[in-house]
Structure formats: structure tokens, C-alpha cells
């Protein structure tokens, strides 16, 4: 442009104005939402990227992990599985085993109780349902001293069920099986029409057969939700696991990784980060895969 004109009537500036106006309207309508979205993505994802980059920084300390993705190498991952003082593979296996068994047990015990409350009418049913709710007010976590001393006592009789034993830990976790989970399931069981039970009963099926072969299949979604929630809760538990499990090769990831990183906080950082990435991957994958179910289960208690 050789001669700047200030008259707004030239076609090109009018088009520019219109575009600017449109952009502003776009920004006011949805654009700012994208801006918020990106800010939140940075907030959410940054720590995860940071830990991923730290894990790929072999021999990295806390200090040298600050250069994000400046070096790439997998040495920390191999180191993770090769040092005897931190049996990572064992921790991983223990966490999976304990988590899966607890989840399966919670689902099974909870489903039995939910079936009972949903389908049978018996004296004390309402009181029972209420009691389950009231008991949950007092978290198991607070009784950790008593759990510790109780397991010490049980260990005198059954060493296999005493302290430093994974079976004992699973039993303690199963103490929380009847509770909020039962309520979630109870709500879902009630949405399955009782006419199905009646029909099966007329055909000569026993109550156990109705439960195992018919009802359990119809309520599979809620079983998945409860199982996953129980698995995540078990994986995240530190208090009870740290008190019950003493020897390093019996511990879970939460206990082992915490003790590992707290001993030499800054110098083990890359190895810890590698352990964290591997530990988080299965949980995150499972979570994203079952996302729909979980959200439904969380908000309603009855997905259908």
C-alpha cells in the first residue's frame, strides 16, 4: 500500500473488518472455550509428560530431569528390573495379584449381598441395608492399629494369615467389600426385572442357579465398575499395606516405590520415574477403556 487511506469504505478493509468481527464473535461463542481447554490440558498433562521424560533420562537425578526430553534412553527401565534391593518385578506382580483377587472377591461378596437385598424379603432387611451404610462412615483406615495387632494375634495361630502375608492383606481389604459397592450393585440389581427370576423359577431353576447363570450375566456392567473401583482402591492403598507387609519382596508398588524414593529422594529419580510410568500404564489404559462405565457408575449408581 503506497497511500494509506483512512476511509473505511474500500472493499478490502471492509472484508477485514467483517473477518475481525466474525473472529471476535467466534471467540466469544466457542473460541475462549478452546483457550480454557488448552490451558487445562497443559495443567493436566504436564506432570505426566514430566515423569515420562524423567524416566527416559538414564541415570537422571531430580536436577537433571528438568531438561524435558533432552536425552532419550531406556536404561532406567532395565535398571528397574535388575537391582536386587528394589524387587520391582515382585512389587508389580504382588500389586496385580492382590488387586485382582481383592477386586474379584469384592465383586463376588458384594453381588451375593446385593442379590439377597434386591430379591429376597426377610426380617431385618431394611435395618441391614442401613447398617451397611452406617458402618461405612467409620473408615477401616482409622482402625489400622487394631488391624495390625489383630493380625499379630492371628499370626500366632495361623502364620499364613498373620503379619507380612498377602493373604492376610486381602482378607483385610475384603472387610470393606460390603458397603458402598453393595449399594451401587443393589441399585443396578433392582433394574433387572424380577419377572426373569420368576420365569426361571417356574422352569425349575434353584435360587443359586438363577443367581449364577442368569442375574450375574445381566448385571455384568456394574460388576466391571465395582471391580475396577476396588482394584484402583487396592492399588492406591498405602496405610494398611505398609503396616501388614514387611519384607521387601512381598510389598506392593505403593509401599515399595514410596520407600525406594524416600530413601534417596533426588538421586533415584529417573529409576523411580520409570517405575511410576510402568505402574500407571495398566491402570490408565484400563480406566480410559472402561471410562463410559465408570462415569455412569459414579453419577447414577444405576447405569441403565
Amino acid at each position: 500500500m503506497s497511500a494509506p487511506t483512512l476511509t473505511p469504505s474500500t472493499p478490502s478493509t471492509r472484508a477485514r473488518d467483517r473477518r475481525g468481527f466474525k473472529a471476535r464473535r467466534w471467540f466469544l461463542a466457542t473460541g475462549w472455550r478452546h483457550l480454557v481447554g488448552w490451558v487445562m490440558i497443559v495443567f493436566s498433562v504436564f506432570p505426566l509428560l514430566y515423569v515420562l521424560s524423567a524416566s527416559l533420562n538414564p541415570g537422571g537425578t531430580l536436577l537433571s530431569s528438568n531438561g524435558l526430553f533432552s536425552t532419550i534412553g531406556f536404561d532406567s527401565y532395565t535398571k528397574l528390573f535388575n537391582s536386587p534391593q528394589q524387587p520391582y518385578a515382585a512389587w508389580f506382580g504382588n500389586t496385580l495379584t492382590i488387586g485382582l483377587i481383592t477386586a474379584a472377591g469384592t465383586v463376588f461378596l458384594g453381588a451375593l449381598a446385593a442379590y439377597c437385598f434386591s430379591r429376597m424379603r426377610f426380617a431385618g432387611r431394611r435395618v441391614g441395608l442401613l447398617t451397611l451404610l452406617v458402618v461405612q462412615i467409620f473408615p477401616q483406615l482409622l482402625a489400622v492399629v487394631a488391624i495390625f495387632l489383630l493380625l499379630t494375634g492371628i499370626g500366632d495361630i495361623f502364620p499364613a494369615l498373620g503379619l507380612d502375608n498377602q493373604v492376610a492383606l486381602i482378607m483385610v481389604y475384603l472387610g470393606g467389600a460390603l458397603g458402598v459397592n453393595t449399594y451401587l450393585m443393589y441399585g443396578f440389581f433392582n433394574t433387572v426385572p424380577a419377572a426373569i427370576d420368576e420365569a426361571a423359577k417356574l422352569d425349575g431353576a434353584s435360587h443359586a442357579r438363577i443367581f449364577f447363570t442368569i442375574i450375574l450375566r445381566l448385571v455384568a456392567p456394574i460388576l466391571a465398575v465395582v471391580g475396577l473401583l476396588a482394584f484402583i482402591a487396592t492399588t492406591n492403598d498405602f496405610v494398611i499395606a505398609s503396616v501388614v507387609l514387611v519384607s521387601p519382596e512381598k510389598q506392593t508398588l505403593a509401599v515399595g516405590l514410596y520407600q525406594f524414593v524416600s530413601q534417596e529422594f533426588s538421586s533415584n529419580w529417573s529409576v523411580f520415574a520409570a517405575g511410576a510410568v510402568l505402574a500407571a500404564l495398566p491402570v490408565m489404559a484400563l480406566f480410559l477403556f472402561l471410562q463410559k462405565y465408570i462415569v455412569g457408575g459414579l453419577t447414577a449408581g444405576a447405569v441403565k
Partner: protein, 534 residues
């Protein structure tokens, strides 16, 4: 399995019979077999435990266990207990590991259980005498064969007079007559495995540590071996006088007596450790309320726990709700993309999240200080106030995706026609939100907010992994720090450090239980009030 329609008794009985017949026809042989095997296992374990309890003379637990076993068998063999058949398995775990342990916590809070006080008086006497043992200078030499009985080691000894006896750590020496002799030395005992040299070397530590008492009286001393082939008499420098109930240090002549504090104490107040656990009444509660070094921190920690739980719920809910409103616009593109990335922190295990943030916020080497604040040494985690801010901030990161998901679901379930009607009446978008959407939303998420509060009230992982409860409160007489919440304080008093106090920790637990119960009652009323609003 009774018929539900009201009918005369005879018909009811007949239909019950028919139902039972149908039941038996329906249940297969396998089901019955599995049931019997499982019940048999439970019974076998239970009866074994009863034998062990009888051997320990623990009759109260014995009776409870016997009653429980009878009840379980009744439930599964009777035809009238259908509902209980489904409830019993879960109920057993619930009763033992949730209900009983709460009561047990109450019991422990009235004792002095803790390091130095975690056993019975007899155990304490034995432990004291064993720890003060020294070899008798002119002890006669006992010819020794170490034997194994199951997993335990035992001593088969021939004393200088040629008499053979056998004993283990739990069972004092006893004369035996059926030992195999090689020369003058007993070398084998029927049913027990004699150890050869390699076995002894392999189990060196266990064998050197083994102490076999001479008799039931701990004053008689015990046999120990330095090499696995000969044993010597060891006597304790402490002498226990059962009649006077005193411990005498034979070297210094100091007399320690049981003064009712759960340990033997000298006149000058010096105590022998270990002691034993005794009931101390309300001492722990009194201490928690009156001792200045405990009361101050306890009040501070309680207030911070409430502030933390409340602010956590408010901040995560506010951010979650805001984002839900932002993304609840049909015109916006790529909502699924934003959603998946934003909820990632919720999928990340929370204990790992806290540990990663502990690294990021580290004072000297952390990313936040070095890269974002240009190398400033801001004590994010080691200052009492900044530590609290950091905890709330990290909890926001961990918790807002949950609130976002919940609010998103709740917003979408509000029917459109309500909004349409409001718009027709001339309400502006802000009014629609404040007067219609928010109340409706609150009704559906209020229970979740309360459970979120309850969860954060005991959010141990976050506090313990991020700051460890620190910085340590120097004025407190217990191990407690500036960012500790109640549950982490209980854990630290009971399990961290050398001076563990189970009794005091349990008293704290009970105090928390009481507080939680009061909140629960109030909040349930509030929820009801909210529902009635609707």
C-alpha cells in the same frame, strides 16, 4: 422360600414342599459337592484354630469362634436361612475387619500398648532375663546335638553326669530315655532330624541365637551354644523374685518393682524395657486433652483437617463445574479430545501423582523452582503455610477431573424443556444457571460432595507422600508436623520412628470416629433437606 400370597397354612406348607422339591431338582450334584467341600474347609480351619486357642487357654476367643462355626454350619444346612446364605460370606469379613477392629481400637485406646509395652508380663520377664544373659564362667560343658523338629531347632544334650534331655526355645529341657547313644553322647531322637555339620553352618545364626531354658523358672538360666557341638549354661544378671514380684540386678543390687506402670521400675523411676501392656483407663484421652505438647498440635491438626477437606471439595468442585459449563456447549468442536486429556490425572494412581509432584515442587532441584521461578529456593513443601497451599494445589490437580466428570453428567441429565421454559419467561443465561441449573445440579451431586469430603478427610496418601506431614512441629511432644491431617498423625504416632504409641494413636482414632459420626449425622440431615427442596 415361602409363598408370597397369603393362604391357609396347609396350602402354604404344601407349596413350600413343592418349592423345596423344585430346588433339589434344580441344584446339581456338583453344586452340592462344592458346597460340602467349602464348608468342610472352613470347619477344618476353624477347628484347628480352636485347638490352638485351647492350647493358649484363650477361652473367650475360643467360645466366639465355636459359636461362629455353629452359626455358619446352621446357615448352610438349614432350609430357612436363604437370605443369610448370601449374606454370610461378606458379613464375616465385615464383622472381623471392619466392625470388630473398631471396637478393638477402643480397647487399645485404654491400654499403654506401644514400643516397650506390647506383650504380657510373663513375656516381658522372659525377654528381660534373656537379654541380660551372660555365660557362667565355670559352666560345665554339655555334649550337644542340634536337631530339627519341623521348622524349629531343638537341643539334645548330654550333661556331664551322662543324663540325656531335650528342649526347644519354647519347651524347657526334659529328660528323655529313647535317645540313640553314640559313645557317651546322645546323637539322635526318634521323630527328629539330627543336623550334620553343613546344616549347622547353613543355619548358624538361628542356632547361635537359640536359648533353651533349663526349667520353667527363668532364674535357672538357659543353654546356648557357640559352635553347635557343645552347650554352656547362661545365667541372667537379673533375678526375678516371683513372690515379691521384683527384678533385682545382681551386679548393682538395684531392685526394680512392678509399680503399676507396665514395667519394672527402680525407686528413682528408671524403667527396665521391655515392659508389658496394661490397662491405663482414660490416661491416653486425658493426655491428649491436657498435655500441652499434644493438645496444641491435636487442635491445630484437627482444624487443618477440616479446612483441607472443605477447601479440597470446594476448589475441585468449582474448577470441575466451571469446566463442565465451558465444555457443555454443543457448538464447540473437539470436546471429546479435551475431555480425554483433561481427565488423565484422575486415571493416574494418586500415590504416584503425589510423589511426582513432590519432585516437581522440591525446594532445591524441583522443576517449578528452577524453571518457572528462575532458581528461587521457595520452600513449597517444607514451610508449614506453603506446604498447605501445595497440598491443596496438588489435590486440585488430582481431584478436579472427577468433579468435572460428575458435573458433566449431571448437567447433561437436566432436561432441556426446563431451560426453554425459563427462557420463555425472560430469564437471562446467568439467571437460568443460578436459579435453575445449579439447584438441580446440587441435588444430584450433593451426596458425591459429601463422600468427597469424607474421602479427603482421610486423604492419607496425598499428605504423607507429598510433605510427609512436615515440617516437624518442634513444640510438640509427639511426631507431628505442620501439614499433618488426623489420619497421618495417627499413622505417625503408631508406626513411624522408634517411639511407637499404639494406645495414644488409638485414642486419637476414637476421637476422630466421634467427630466423623457427628458430621455424618448432620450431613445426612442436610442432604435430606436438599432433597426436599426439589
Amino acid at each position: 422360600m415361602s409363598s408370597r400370597t397369603p393362604s391357609p397354612q396347609t396350602r402354604a406348607r404344601r407349596s413350600r414342599g413343592a418349592a423345596r422339591l423344585a430346588e433339589m431338582a434344580g441344584g446339581s450334584l456338583w453344586a452340592i459337592l462344592i458346597k460340602i467341600v467349602l464348608l468342610g474347609l472352613v470347619d477344618a480351619l476353624g477347628i484347628y484354630a480352636m485347638f490352638m486357642l485351647a492350647a493358649q487357654h484363650n477361652w473367650i476367643v475360643f467360645a466366639i469362634l465355636a459359636a461362629a462355626l455353629v452359626a455358619i454350619n446352621y446357615v448352610y444346612f438349614s432350609k430357612r436361612t436363604l437370605a443369610m446364605k448370601y449374606l454370610t460370606p461378606g458379613l464375616i469379613f465385615l464383622l472381623v475387619f471392619q466392625v470388630f477392629v473398631i471396637g478393638y481400637t477402643g480397647y487399645i485406646s485404654f491400654t499403654n500398648y506401644g514400643s516397650g509395652h506390647n506383650s504380657t508380663k510373663e513375656d516381658a520377664i522372659t525377654a528381660l532375663m534373656q537379654s541380660a544373659q551372660e555365660r557362667v564362667p565355670d559352666s560345665s560343658t554339655y555334649a550337644l546335638t542340634v536337631v530339627r523338629d519341623g521348622g524349629d531347632f531343638g537341643f539334645l544334650v548330654t550333661d556331664p553326669k551322662g543324663e540325656v534331655s531335650y528342649g526347644t526355645a519354647e519347651h524347657p529341657l526334659e529328660r528323655v530315655t529313647d535317645a540313640t547313644m553314640t559313645g557317651d553322647k546322645a546323637t539322635a531322637l526318634p521323630g527328629k532330624e539330627s543336623l550334620n555339620f553343613t546344616d549347622i553352618v547353613d543355619n548358624q545364626k538361628a542356632i547361635v541365637d537359640l536359648q533353651v531354658p533349663i526349667s520353667d523358672d527363668p532364674n535357672d538360666g538357659s543353654l546356648r551354644t557357640p559352635d553347635g557341638s557343645s552347650a554352656f549354661l547362661y545365667l541372667s544378671s537379673l533375678h526375678y523374685d516371683a513372690r515379691a514380684d521384683t527384678m533385682t540386678d545382681t551386679k548393682t543390687g538395684t531392685v526394680y518393682s512392678d509399680t503399676g506402670v507396665g514395667a519394672f521400675a527402680a525407686p528413682d523411676g528408671k524403667q527396665l524395657k521391655p515392659g508389658w501392656s496394661i490397662g491405663v483407663g482414660f490416661d491416653n484421652y486425658v493426655k491428649a486433652i491436657t498435655d500441652d505438647g499434644i493438645r496444641g498440635p491435636l487442635i491445630g491438626v484437627t482444624i487443618w483437617t477440616f479446612v483441607f477437606a472443605l477447601l479440597s471439595v470446594l476448589t475441585t468442585f468449582a474448577l470441575g463445574l466451571f469446566l463442565a459449563i465451558v465444555f457443555n456447549d454443543m457448538r464447540m468442536r473437539g470436546r471429546a479430545f479435551y475431555r480425554v486429556l483433561i481427565i488423565l490425572p484422575y486415571a493416574f494412581p494418586s500415590f504416584l501423582g503425589a510423589l511426582v509432584w513432590a519432585g516437581l515442587l522440591n525446594r532445591d532441584f524441583g522443576f517449578i523452582n528452577l524453571e518457572l521461578f528462575g532458581g528461587a529456593h521457595i520452600p513449597w513443601l517444607t514451610d508449614a503455610f506453603l506446604g498447605k497451599v501445595s497440598i491443596l494445589f496438588v489435590n486440585l490437580w488430582l481431584g478436579f477431573p472427577y468433579m468435572f466428570l460428575v458435573c458433566m453428567g449431571a448437567l447433561q441429565s437436566i432436561p432441556d424443556d426446563v431451560q426453554e421454559a425459563a427462557k420463555m419467561d425472560g430469564a437471562n443465561p446467568f439467571q437460568i444457571f443460578k436459579k435453575i441449573k445449579l439447584p438441580l445440579l446440587l441435588v444430584s451431586v450433593a451426596p458425591l460432595l459429601i463422600s468427597s469430603f469424607a474421602f479427603n478427610f482421610n486423604n492419607f496418601n496425598l499428605v504423607y507422600m507429598l510433605t510427609g506431614g512436615g515440617p516437624r512441629d518442634a513444640s510438640a511432644s509427639i511426631n507431628v508436623g505442620g501439614t499433618d491431617i488426623l489420619i497421618s498423625m495417627v499413622y505417625k504416632v503408631a508406626f513411624v520412628g522408634a517411639d511407637r504409641d499404639y494406645g495414644l494413636a488409638s485414642a486419637f482414632s476414637i476421637l476422630i470416629f466421634i467427630v466423623v459420626a457427628i458430621i455424618a449425622i448432620v450431613s445426612f440431615r442436610q442432604t435430606k433437606a436438599l432433597e426436599e427442596l426439589n
